[in-house]
């Protein structure tokens, strides 16, 4: 197997073609209890991270927003409220189980009219050039097989002046916090996954994929290489999560 044809799946080295299917299996397995697990794992703080993402997005009435790897639709629901009936929000996810859970949840909440649901791969977004004012991807980029291709695809669908926001786990800046975070990720998370979703492997993958994800500065460089300008990031909760923002010139 040549080096070019492989990518990481957690700590494992797998064939590039196989990663999407393996990630899909992880999310098929956890989709029904995804929201509950997010609340349990983060102690509810993921809502604060997403709220900050919405603030920084600068989305306003009438905007077109694409939420990639939108999962159960936390960001899309809030964006749909903000853009109003004259705006447009597209919730995209590669995984049909997650998309179904998200669609059912948002429709049950009464979100209708300005929301679309699309099963799409972040690397090959099925939208025309210059379509969106804002693109967000929250806790999704680390699961993408080729992040560089995905970032260029996001740039393509953004309108000039549009913003990309990447909310993703990152590297804590403090050694003590880093050690506590490692212990939590590799000991507590798989156990929690076993108890709630009867699937510890998926949460072992979660912890491993976070460690394999590029750190704050590397991701910022990757965004700049893809063609984004004025790239910046904000560390949250000591760097456990970072929010990267870049503009399309």
């Amino acid at each position: 197997m040549s080096e070019k044809d492989t990518t990481n799946f957690g700590y494992k080295e797998v064939e590039k073609e196989a990663k999407a299917g393996m990630v899909a299996d992880v999310f098929h397995s956890v989709a029904s209890r995804y929201d509950l697990m997010n609340d349990l794992m983060s102690g509810g703080i993921h809502r604060i991270w997403k709220r900050f993402t919405i603030e920084l997005s600068g989305v306003r009435k009438g905007n077109a927003v694409l939420d990639i790897a939108g999962g159960t639709g936390d960001l899309a629901a809030r964006f749909a409220d903000i853009v109003g009936p004259e705006g447009r929000v597209v919730l995209a996810d590669i995984n049909d189980s997650m998309l179904q859970v998200g669609r059912d949840k948002l429709l049950d909440q009464g979100h209708l009219g300005n929301l679309e649901f699309v099963q799409a791969d972040a690397q090959h977004l099925p939208f025309p050039d210059d379509s969106f004012d804002c693109v967000t991807i929250a806790f999704g980029l680390r699961n993408v097989t080729d992040k560089d291709i995905a970032l260029r695809s996001m740039l393509r669908v953004l309108k000039p002046g549009g913003r990309l926001l990447v909310l993703e786990f990152s590297k804590p800046g403090n050694d003590l916090l880093s050690k506590a975070y490692d212990a939590y990720s590799f000991k507590v998370l798989p156990l929690m996954g076993k108890l709630v979703t009867n699937d510890s492997d998926s949460y072992q993958y979660l912890a491993e994929s976070i460690r394999m994800h590029p750190d704050q500065e590397t991701l910022k460089d990757m965004m700049e290489d893809a063609g984004f300008t004025r790239c910046e990031y904000h560390n949250m909760t000591g760097g456990v999560v970072a929010l990267h923002k870049g503009l399309k010139a």
Partner: protein
């Protein structure tokens, strides 16, 4: 948003405050309807001490509080926390804005409207108690809370008055407000007279020099 504030803490604090405000607004439908008229406005509150930026956006669904806003602002207000408290509790917000230390940019009418709506916010706290505990128990608990609050307010007002009287009249630690205002006025008048005298002597000195030449 101010860079030295942790975004997680800042966002969490604003989320909690927003939830509390919106909960109060659901119990005061009149205020909520009035806020809907300010739906297109964004108010920027820049607090310099402690350093904190808050953006407030009213809508028909309630109030949205943000730590960061990328877009046009209707009214921007800058000042210390005490200045904002003074404005929030003022019975005459126009006078407070003119005479106070707050720096204001943009549309002051919208800000005054917002202050008036929030100042007269009078939530019906009995409604959630009645819906949770039932008509009889809920009403009795609400009455009890209302009389406790009323007693607390009376006690606090009375304590404030007595403390004021003790400081000014008994211990004479500070002069009364009116006396202090008279003193400030006298100092101001003295200052003006000194300035006038100075300009008069300058004029006379100039004329004297002209005569000597």
């Amino acid at each position: 948003m101010v860079d030295n504030i942790n975004p997680t803490v800042h966002t969490a604090a604003l989320a909690a405050l927003e939830a509390g405000l919106n909960q109060a607004l659901t119990l005061a439908p009149q205020s909520a309807a009035e806020l809907a008229e300010l739906a297109e406005c964004v108010f920027a509150l820049h607090c310099t001490s402690p350093t904190l930026d808050v953006y407030l956006q009213p809508s028909a669904k309630g109030i949205r509080l943000m730590g960061y806003h990328d877009g046009a602002v209707t009214t921007s207000v800058r000042g210390e926390a005490s200045d904002f408290t003074e404005l929030a509790t003022s019975k005459d917000p126009t006078a407070t804005l003119i005479n106070g230390r707050l720096e204001l940019q943009g549309d002051s009418a919208a800000l005054i409207e917002l202050q008036k709506i929030l100042a007269k916010l009078n939530p019906d706290w009995e409604a959630p108690l009645v819906s949770t505990l039932g008509d009889v128990a809920g009403h009795q608990l609400a009455q009890m809370l209302r009389s406790s609050f009323s007693w607390g307010k009376q006690a606090s007002d009375s304590l404030g008055r007595q403390l004021d009287e003790y400081i000014h009249e008994e211990a004479r630690l500070s002069p009364p407000r009116l006396e202090l205002e008279d003193f400030y006025r006298d100092v101001q008048q003295l200052g003006q007279r000194v300035e006038r005298l100075q300009s008069r002597t300058d004029r006379l000195r100039k004329r004297l020099r002209a005569l000597q030449q």
